[in-house]
């Protein structure tokens, strides 16, 4: 078995103590790295540290148990895609497609992220300490008990929450020089879910409206901001004192009158 091979013949770049494994990913091809992760996961390892990560893709994909992975470096595209419950912490920046179509689990990035954070995610949580790129939360959706959430500490670029169909998207704007998020087409095509944005937004999509937060909103927002702050050592109370805008879809069927029959 491949699994036993890995455990029996520990490669030079792998060290294991009890339930914790340490990997030096220097020069490692992503397929080898991910196959090693799957072997470790199948053999009851609970914590994995991966060092010297430079662009290896799909880290966290297809792991069966709810293990913790700490990534040091810059993980590649599609970090945690289709993920089913792993906890990933990135000590560095994430690239494009972080949390792509993720089902369950958590990604905490101590840095920034590229485009398409949480594309089509259906469950789990993503926390980005700094800025994120284009199309954050595009088409994230909720179903039965699954309700995904994304918290961006900085600001995000255009098409934030595009097509959003469910879940919660929070943008805190903590590092902004101005009070206005520069993103354009925020919530375009949004037909479900909620965005909470600290500060104003430069340009909203046609399908959304802005409202004040009610108590329920503050409960949801509060617990996400608390969790966010717990990772980055920030003061949640102070952040929550600022004005937030709630952005919500005007209709769950924005295109009902579009067609001729």
């Amino acid at each position: 078995m491949v699994i036993n091979d890995v455990i029996n013949h520990t490669p030079e770049n792998l060290s294991i103590t009890e339930k914790t494994a340490k990997i030096d990913a220097t020069g490692m091809y992503y397929k080898d790295l991910n196959s090693l992760l799957r072997s470790l996961d199948a053999n009851g390892i609970e914590n994995i540290e991966i060092h010297n990560v430079y662009g290896q893709r799909y880290i966290g994909t297809d792991l069966d148990n709810h293990i913790n992975i700490d990534i040091y470096g810059t993980p590649g595209n599609d970090l945690g895609s289709f993920m089913k419950g792993t906890n990933i912490t990135v000590h560095g920046n994430a690239q494009d497609g972080c949390g792509n179509t993720m089902d369950h689990g958590k990604i905490v990035v101590h840095g920034r992220a590229g485009d398409l954070v949480g594309h089509s995610m259906r469950g789990g949580k993503i926390f980005i300490r700094d800025d994120a790129g284009y199309r954050v939360g595009i088409h994230m959706k909720e179903y039965l008990g699954k309700r995904p959430s994304i918290v961006i500490g900085g600001t995000a670029q255009d098409f934030l929450g595009e097509y959003m169909a469910g879940g919660v998207l929070v943008v805190l704007g903590l590092n902004m020089k101005e009070k206005v998020h520069n993103a354009r087409f925020v919530g375009t095509g949004m037909h479900g879910g909620t965005m909470y944005i600290r500060g104003d937004v430069r340009h909203l999509g046609e399908e959304v409206a802005v409202a004040e937060l009610n108590d329920d909103d503050y409960n949801i927002l509060g617990s996400l901001v608390d969790e966010f702050c717990s990772y980055y050592g920030l003061d949640a109370e102070k952040i929550l004192q600022s004005k937030f805008n709630k952005i919500f879809p005007v209709s769950s069927r924005p295109y009902g009158n579009l067609y001729a029959y």
Binding site: E162, Y163, F185, T188, E207, P254, L258, A260
Partner: protein, 504 residues
């Protein structure tokens, strides 16, 4: 003389369904239906029926069906019913066979042999409903380059002065139909729809009725050979001026609005006495050559102080490319090409169906010729004549048009059923008529909604197709013939169209 021409249509009436409400009698302006009081039954004069479907549409119990007369002559691929009927009519009258609307033969359409591309994998399609999709188009002469200065703060200042431009929110405008050939209510509907949607309506050659001057920002005023209603206020009223040289339905011939149609209102707008025939000469009698055209273009520019683009409209004829080149060099800001399938209020059928060339070929040849000569930027190209769907519009733009004119489609949206009898002036739908009893049938409040609905529907469809191609601004389709492929065309046809074969 006994006419040998049999009725074209037969009216079948279901007497069980008929409630004797006489709507059909009132609706038919050709007096096809009448009520027989004695027998309490409605009857028909089949020979009057033009199959406009007005009665059938308004019959509250769907009791009326109009059928093509099954009595046809012996089938013959050459000596068709239409040919034989035409000859008999001519024998009986010694006249020219008149018709209305555009060519009804199937053999002159290329749009349906062109197919549009879409993105798969190598570049993404764009979702037009949620991401920006820009149809805005500017009509007018563009320079080859610009002079600009940038400041330290990043501000950009334009040093070049641009020629006047028309801004269209969708690349579709309403083509010329004169007041007189269609009713004032039709003009009102067109003007208001153009204004509401951010496009333009063309007056045609019959002048602009006073009450419509307020829509001037969205009006193109036409100057044709008859110069009806052309005066300084009229030229000032519009956003652009169009010189009409020719029309696709009847290249090389003029027009004739019969005196009966020159009512008090028409007389006022056309600025001719009531009841006189309004004759549009075949040529513009101040243009017998290309340098004369330049003279008229600049006369109009002078008259409008160089604030408005001047269009020149020609029928698409064999050497359209060379003519268009001359028009651009003569100083026109836009060239309008009207193809052989273009509509008309009245034209000899023989001309309509046999003179001119299809718009697709003319457009392709003109766009390429202007590019070969390096003058394509100097003028916009507008395609007209036989545009019947949003796909046709998009295909025209891909072949090289900046925008399209539609007229038949606009009238159809108002109710027209293309019965081709516009020239009778008795349009039961209240469109091609000046009869006040009939023109009431177009309510401008409803008309504007129907026209805007059409513009919106087509615009959305264009966006869908553009999004499918991964293109989000119409200028990236314009002249982009690689987004088209031809099917069922010869090598030569493909070559003229500048389009590859499907599968290539």
């Amino acid at each position: 003389m006994k006419s040998y021409v049999q009725p074209e249509y037969l009216i079948e009436r279901d007497n069980d369904r008929c409630i004797r409400c006489k709507v059909c009698v009132n609706q038919c302006s050709y007096e096809t239906h009448y009520y027989d009081e004695e027998d309490d039954v409605l009857c028909s004069r089949n020979e009057n029926c033009v199959n406009c479907q007005r009665c059938a549409t308004f019959c509250p119990t769907q009791a009326i069906a109009i059928r093509k007369n099954p009595n046809t002559y012996r089938p013959n691929a050459n000596w068709t019913q239409e040919v034989l009927t035409g000859i008999k009519k001519q024998a009986e009258t010694g006249g020219v066979v008149l018709t209305g609307m555009g060519c009804d033969k199937p053999n002159l359409t290329y749009w349906d042999r062109l197919l549009i591309n879409a993105s798969q994998v190598t570049n993404p399609s764009i979702d037009p409903l949620r991401e920006p999709m820009e149809l805005r188009t500017y009509i007018g002469s563009k320079p080859d380059s610009l002079k600009l200065t940038t400041s330290k703060t990043g501000d950009i200042t334009l040093e070049t002065k641009l020629a006047p431009q028309l801004r269209l929110e969708t690349p579709i405008m309403f083509s010329a139909m004169s007041y007189g050939s269609v009713s004032l209510n039709v003009h009102k509907s067109l003007a208001r729809a153009a204004s509401e949607y951010g496009t333009y309506y063309n007056t045609g050659e019959g002048g602009l009725e006073k009450s419509l001057y307020k829509y001037g920002k969205n009006v193109i005023v036409q100057v044709a050979s008859g110069r009806f209603g052309v005066h300084p206020d009229y030229l000032d009223a519009g956003a652009a001026v169009e010189i009409k040289i020719g029309q696709g339905a009847k290249p090389g011939i003029g027009g004739h609005l019969p005196g009966e149609k020159v009512s008090a209102e028409i007389s006022k707008t056309r600025m001719i006495p009531m009841g006189t025939d309004a004759l549009s000469p075949a040529p513009q009698h101040d243009i017998y050559s290309i340098e004369d055209l330049r003279q008229l273009i600049y006369a109009l520019k002078e008259a409008t102080d160089y604030t408005k683009p001047v269009f020149v409209k020609i029928a698409a004829v064999h050497n359209a490319a060379a003519i268009a080149s001359g028009i651009v060099r003569a100083g026109a800001d836009a060239v309008v090409l009207d193809g052989v399938r273009g509509g008309t209020g009245a034209a000899p059928r023989i001309t309509r169906d046999n003179v001119g060339i299809p718009i697709e070929m003319a457009l392709a040849a003109v766009d390429q010729r202007l590019r070969d000569e390096g003058i394509r930027n100097k003028a916009s190209v507008i395609a007209a004549g036989g545009i019947k769907s949003s796909a046709d519009v998009l295909k025209a733009i891909a072949l090289g048009a900046d925008a399209c004119y539609i007229a038949t489609a606009a009238l159809v949206s108002l109710g027209c059923t293309v019965c081709q009898k516009c020239y009778t002036g008795k349009c039961p739908w209240g469109i091609a008529t000046t009869d006040l009893w009939l023109t009431k049938r177009i309510n401008p409040d409803i008309g504007v909604k129907r026209l805007v609905g059409l513009l919106r529907g087509w615009s959305l469809e264009i966006m869908e197709m553009m999004g499918g191609m991964g293109i989000n601004a119409i200028e990236s389709v314009r002249g982009n013939r690689l987004v088209l492929r031809g099917v069922g065309l010869t090598d030569k046809e493909l070559e003229v169209l500048g389009v590859r074969m499907v599968g290539e």
